[in-house]
Amino acid sequence: MTLLSSVTGRLTAAALSLAVALPAVAQETPQSGGVANVAIQPEPPGLMLPLVQNAPTQRVAGNIFEGLLRYDAELEPMPQLATSWEISDDGLTYTFHLHPDVTWHDGEAFSAADVVFSADVFLRETNPRTRAILDHVASIEAPDDETVVFTLKQPFPAFIQAFEVGTLPIVPKHLYEGTDFYNNPANNHPIGTGPFEFAKWDRGSVIELDKNPDYYEAGKPYLDKIYWHVIPDAASRAAAYENGTLNIMPAGSVENFDIPRLAGMDGSCMTEAGNEYFNPFAMLWLNNREGPTADKRFRQAVMYALDRDFAKNVLWNGLGKVPNGPFSSTLAAHDDDLQPYPYDPDKAEELLDEMGYDGEPVRLLPLPYGETWTRWAEAVRQNLEDVGINIETESSDVAGWNQKVSDWDYDIAFTYLFQYGDPSLGIARTYVSSNIAKGSPWNNVEGYENPEIDKLFAAAAVENDADKRQAMYDQIQQTLHEDVPLAWIMELAQPTIYRCNVHDLITTGIGLNDGFKNAWIEQ
């Protein structure tokens, strides 16, 4: 099936909730009440999600704002503000039917005009990622208050993946139309349609969200409040979870070596779910322009030299996945048959001899994101030195790392990238030559240029036939696997640690960023 033609979301939703409800009844029914105490770090710069794209903002504000759709663990769309949707057979027209009873937190009625304003005006101006997706869109119209129609310039099958709250959050038109978006007073008290309302923000201490009593899904949300505790030190966050002050620790809240201890406490649970949409993919940028890393044999030698299983088991507690190639395993287009590079130091040395590597120093730039990343850089350095590569480790803070990667001033550099549910949204940007430009650490900063790959990515993005598209993506994966434009080191796990009396915390592939509307606490 190429298209989700005429999926009736309401029916799907009913069937889904039935499927979920049946075992749930056997266990427990959700209880109202209770408070979520969640760690957040760093402190978000703002909570106006449509303006601010930082990871901590997305984590908190996904409760305040909503998108038209959510996505399950297989990244299939689920209803949110849109109850049902249709995609025309030619893949050019996307029609969304909106929930009729939605109001903004300030009491104004939500309508299709808000969606048109958000996508066509607001996000085109403020959000670079959404702007790129909307380049495929010719027009956005609201034939009536409950219907929105997106007309595309050409088929773009990935488009249906772009309606998640962080990518296409809906903005209240009545507060923002005709204003200076960046200096709008509403930014300090964001108004959304979500299950929780902004209540208070004590900078440096805590962000407080209250239950939205008028939420359009009857009975939800179950929690009375969410407190986001700003605690800058990882060991202090661990202590706050241990002594019971916090009951939810999002991924990245504690250093990896603390995870087994916290997850192993009595009444403590851990899940890796909710990772499917973003699926952070750790890589080593290899500078394809100059130095030893410009030689394909050297880059292949790096792949053979890395003991990726060791890093996974020792540094990441066995969580995560060693990738077989450039596409992460949660993507539908992932080629399962691709054979991963094995850990084979002899083969690596052979390749280095063949290219005549003379011991020229190679700079390694770690990602300054805490202890685990520092240790990982040490492990990689040791792997590479074992096969005779002369490594010089550089150090920097986050801003310095940013600058060096953006200006291509590195030989090997750690990074990780989000996948956003489709190769054309999250992967093509890393390899196509049109994305070679200084100034951003998320461009094609390794400098890989391959006209065949450019053509394939461009064609696959607009190919409406799933089989043909998959054939192209298979070809892309095989070529990249051979060329090693960069080293794929790990699909990172995103373990959430929480008290076991918190239920239904993560119910979609977006994870905690999707909000806590289903979460409830067993009293």
Binding site: V35, N37, P42, E43, P45, G46, Q53, N54, A55, P128, R129, R131, A132, Y182, N183, N187, D202, R203, G204, S205, V206, E208, K225, Y227, H229, V230, I231, P232, D233, A235, S236, A239, A240, E242, N243, T245, S396, D397, V398, A399, G400, N402, Q403, K404, S406, L417, F418, R429, A437, G439, S440, P441, W442
Partner: protein, 326 residues
Amino acid sequence: MAYVSLILGRVGKAVIVLLAILVFNFFLIHAAPGDPAAVMAGEAGATDQQFLDDLRERFGLDQPLPVQLWRYMSGVLQLDFGYSYRQQMPVLDLILDRLPATLLLTGAAFCISLLFGIIAGTLAAMRAKRPSGSIIMGLALLFYATPLYWVAMMAVLVFSVTLDWLPAYGYSTVGADYTGLAHVGDVAVHLMLPALTLGLFFMAVYTRMTRTSMLSVSQQDFVKTARAKGLAPGVIQRRHILRNALLPIITLAGLQAGQMVGGAVLTETVFAWPGIGRLMYEALMQRDYNLLLGIFFFCALLVILFNMLTDVIYRLADPRIKQGAT
């Protein structure tokens, strides 16, 4: 009169020093790699050139550096410290919002360390040849040599996680919304661990210094005279020895007081105390130039103020110090 002209002269110098510090800091932080726009784009996980250009234009970072400096300095002269790029709030608001928490923490630590340091040092000097004096000095050496973050983490582990006597972090109980006396009590309980942790090091320094200073003063002739006069030992200790031994302590206290705004970065981080130190560290990491310069300004201002205050206190404590003698 002498004091007034002295202070006026000092204020004039202070203004020049402050402006020089601002200019120097301005160039120093612009020399660090990366700018706030790049950091914000980096955190977003995806970006394009238009986004970066928009940010730089809004922040005024597209202007040449001298123009940016001119704009900044002319703002400061009108007491306008600009906007924090990242937090989208006036720098002055952000700093004033965080200042009380920091002053409470560092002020409490200052009082604790000064009071207990001098008491412990005096006791140690009076019992210099007895085991109890050695025990005090042993403890002082221990606190002097132990890294602050280690003390902080151990304090949390013992008093919060294991014993559950004191809160592990924060300024007040989240969600309790106490008012009046209950609020004061709540903050005091939260203050205890960070203030003690921060105060321990200086307490040890004061203890050691008071003891040494008192022992050396007690060898001097006027003390012998006082003893010969038949004054009570307590009076000699307090009036003759301690007062004369205090001068080096005042110097040191002036130094510690000067660090009251920016000197608690580590403690504030470990205890999630919403103060200036954390704001400064985060502004540095995020290259939030305006905010960082504003905090530097306040830190410098406080150092200068306390230096002046120390000079005045010197004169009160020891009338022999006259104008121009320093």
